[in-house]
Symmetry: C3
Subunit: 303 residues, 3 copies
């Protein structure tokens, strides 16, 4: 059944995932304008320039238009006490599709419940960020050549990082995937994800030694420790615990890939020359894939 909204990764079945992936491949090099005359509203209650610009570029490349607010929390009627439902119902009549970024978990679900047009969750608080998960998975598929039969290390803030959570939900759909979780104390993956993975027969381990596991994985998915989650003192200690440098990058197999949802801070410390020449460094291609995945998703939801 075709999706109306994209709220969380769990909604996506394998068929839909590959429909979107193949659409992304097609649209990447195409000059067709299937969304001519359609309007995307990017409604961002929390600024996220990268995600917003990526969606807007995707819409424009498909021939569509964009209306936008990059700081709806302060600039919109939210400040006068308007409910999100009311805002969505009104913006629904101005646009053909909405990307919602919100600081509260569950906001996209609420928005979808009253919207007459498709809602895409562009990240909601501690909740999900399903287009990031889609582009992460698409990058694995393009770079490794498969999604089944992979070993992936997820490293960093696994507790609060919503990209990790969303990606786990997607990986749960595939076969013979093994996940190695590596995180500082107090940042380990939550039980709900572990239960989901068990239910879907995904093998996983919780480990603490990054370098030991680098030679064994197909993909390393690094994430940033979010400074705002811990005290300044703790942050100084934690941020250097797990790090990819010139040295341990070489522990990776030749065909393995280093992914990161970006922005990265201290957890990746590679010279620009290596980022530009070592094929294993995939995170800028990953960011670019965001454009194609979002083109594919906009086209899929609006067709």
């Amino acid at each position: 059944m075709k999706l109306k909204h994209l709220i969380e990764s769990q909604q996506l079945d394998i068929e839909t995932i590959f429909t979107i992936f193949k659409r992304a491949d097609e649209l990447k090099n195409s000059t067709v304008k299937p969304l001519t005359g359609k309007i995307l509203a990017t409604l961002f209650y929390e600024p996220s320039t990268r995600t917003r610009l990526s969606f807007e570029s995707a819409m424009l490349r498909l021939g569509g238009y964009v209306i936008s607010t990059e700081n709806a929390k302060e600039f919109s009627s939210a400040i006068k006490g308007e409910s999100l439902q009311d805002t969505i119902r009104i913006v629904s009549s101005y646009a053909d599709i909405i990307v919602l970024r919100h600081f509260e978990e569950g906001s996209s679900k609420i928005a979808a419940s009253v919207s007459s047009i498709p809602i895409i969750n562009g990240g909601d608080g501690g909740g999900q960020h399903p287009t990031q998960a889609l582009l992460d998975l698409y990058t694995i598929w393009k770079e490794i050549g498969r999604v089944d039969n992979i070993v992936i290390a997820m490293v960093g803030d696994l507790k609060y990082g919503r990209t990790v959570r969303s990606l786990c939900y997607l990986l749960g759909k595939f076969k013979n995937v093994k996940i190695i979780f590596i995180s500082p104390e107090n940042f380990s993956i939550k039980d709900d994800i572990k239960e989901y993975l068990k239910k879907h027969n995904i093998k996983f381990e919780e480990q603490t030694n990054l370098n030991k596991h680098l030679p064994c994985v197909d993909v390393v998915y690094m994430t940033r420790i979010q400074e705002e989650r811990v005290s300044a003192e703790e942050y100084q200690n934690i941020k250097i615990v797990y790090k990819i440098t010139k040295e341990n990058l070489n522990l990776l197999k030749e065909n393995a890939r280093l992914l990161h949802p970006l922005p990265h801070v201290g957890e990746i410390d590679l010279p620009i020359e290596i980022e530009q020449t070592d094929r294993r460094v995939a995170y800028f291609r990953q960011a670019e894939n965001g454009l194609y995945i979002r083109m594919a998703l906009l086209s899929y939801l609006l067709e």
Copy 2:
């Protein structure tokens, strides 16, 4: 005589009003792009996401382009002491039409006095908001089937609410209109409006009992008490004085309509199911009409 700018409701005569209404009807279902290649600048010194997105969507649907600032007060040269006149003269050379939202009454008039291109007042301080008044009147026309011979209750903050003021100016052009003003103490309609109405032979009363008058009106125009106008304590008392609920909504005649310029806060307390199914609840259709009225106005001023 054709208008060059839209600064205040009083400028609009009946012929122009109906020219715009009929244009709105036509453009609503049309795919013509009469403004291809034209550029709208939305110059907002005070954020108002709804009004801005509505104008921008209108322009894009007509084939035009948009350049925009949603927070000119902080982001533009205003902060360096540039006069509004200078800003307008410069932006005039970048765009074909300007929507100006400003925090100071009279700003649009000043802008129009130096502009080489049409200026639309998108709300200026305690002043006017003429496109809101136009869409309110258009909604009455579409929903009730006429503008002459109606009884309308205006409820809430009648003193500071500029939408009420602008709408009164428009209603003054029609025949056999009766207005019932219902407001908390200290929020009653100002003398200048009363004088205007007298001069134009519009009957009006000032009343205090909302429920008593609900069965007699064709239209209830509810407005929000603006929290920033009163002390926190007063606000708590005042905000519940006049309220539409599931119960008193049913006092309305079957063909009557409930309007609100939105956002609404406590003064409308209806379950979503009733908002979605009770034909008398017209405020989301009213918001949507804003799009068609703004399309019509842009097209009218730029043709």
Copy 3:
């Protein structure tokens, strides 16, 4: 050799300058859309509504699209510690050309070093603002009819004002130019510019009496003292030192021109009627020229 990026005025040789000027003349009255389907990203880490809207209008008039952030410092991943290089590499994959405005000198150079697409410096801290210099020079060329053989007075903040610095670099390319620098104490032109001018055989003087020199110049280039550079007390004294009024404007030759990069504050004190009718007042035409120069530059860099 064709430029890939525009980072500083010195990069522009006479041939490129006149290629862009002639392109500006052509595009001014043309309806061709040479940039159809191309995307401009305006990445502003420091708000500057005028510069941004001017670039965006230029891009739209050429048939292109725009993605934009007007406050990247607060809204983008910069706040999470992302390097400018990383941001540029990512935005490079979303757009075809970037205009960067940044609060730090040298930012555009850094951006260009990692960008796969053209970077235009839209002003970087105390550094340069080369498109302003180009439009200033274009205005001189259009208004005076030549750039060689002119006498130009530069007045105001010559120390911090980056437009003055960038314009000096351009004037250094021409013949028989004489510059008269007139500034309050502590705001005089820096030694690096003086050395550059000497090296390029440009005559210059440092003077203190504005009125004495007004009758002798072809162009007066006034600039604003930036309030933030001095104490409140000093500012009150300094801002009135050099001023163009109704009276001393008439000291100018009939064919001389008054330019200003705008916004102007107290240093120009002319009634609107004179601004609108006295042909010598050229600064609004100068601002309009910014549009044509930016159209020409976008077209030149993307062709």
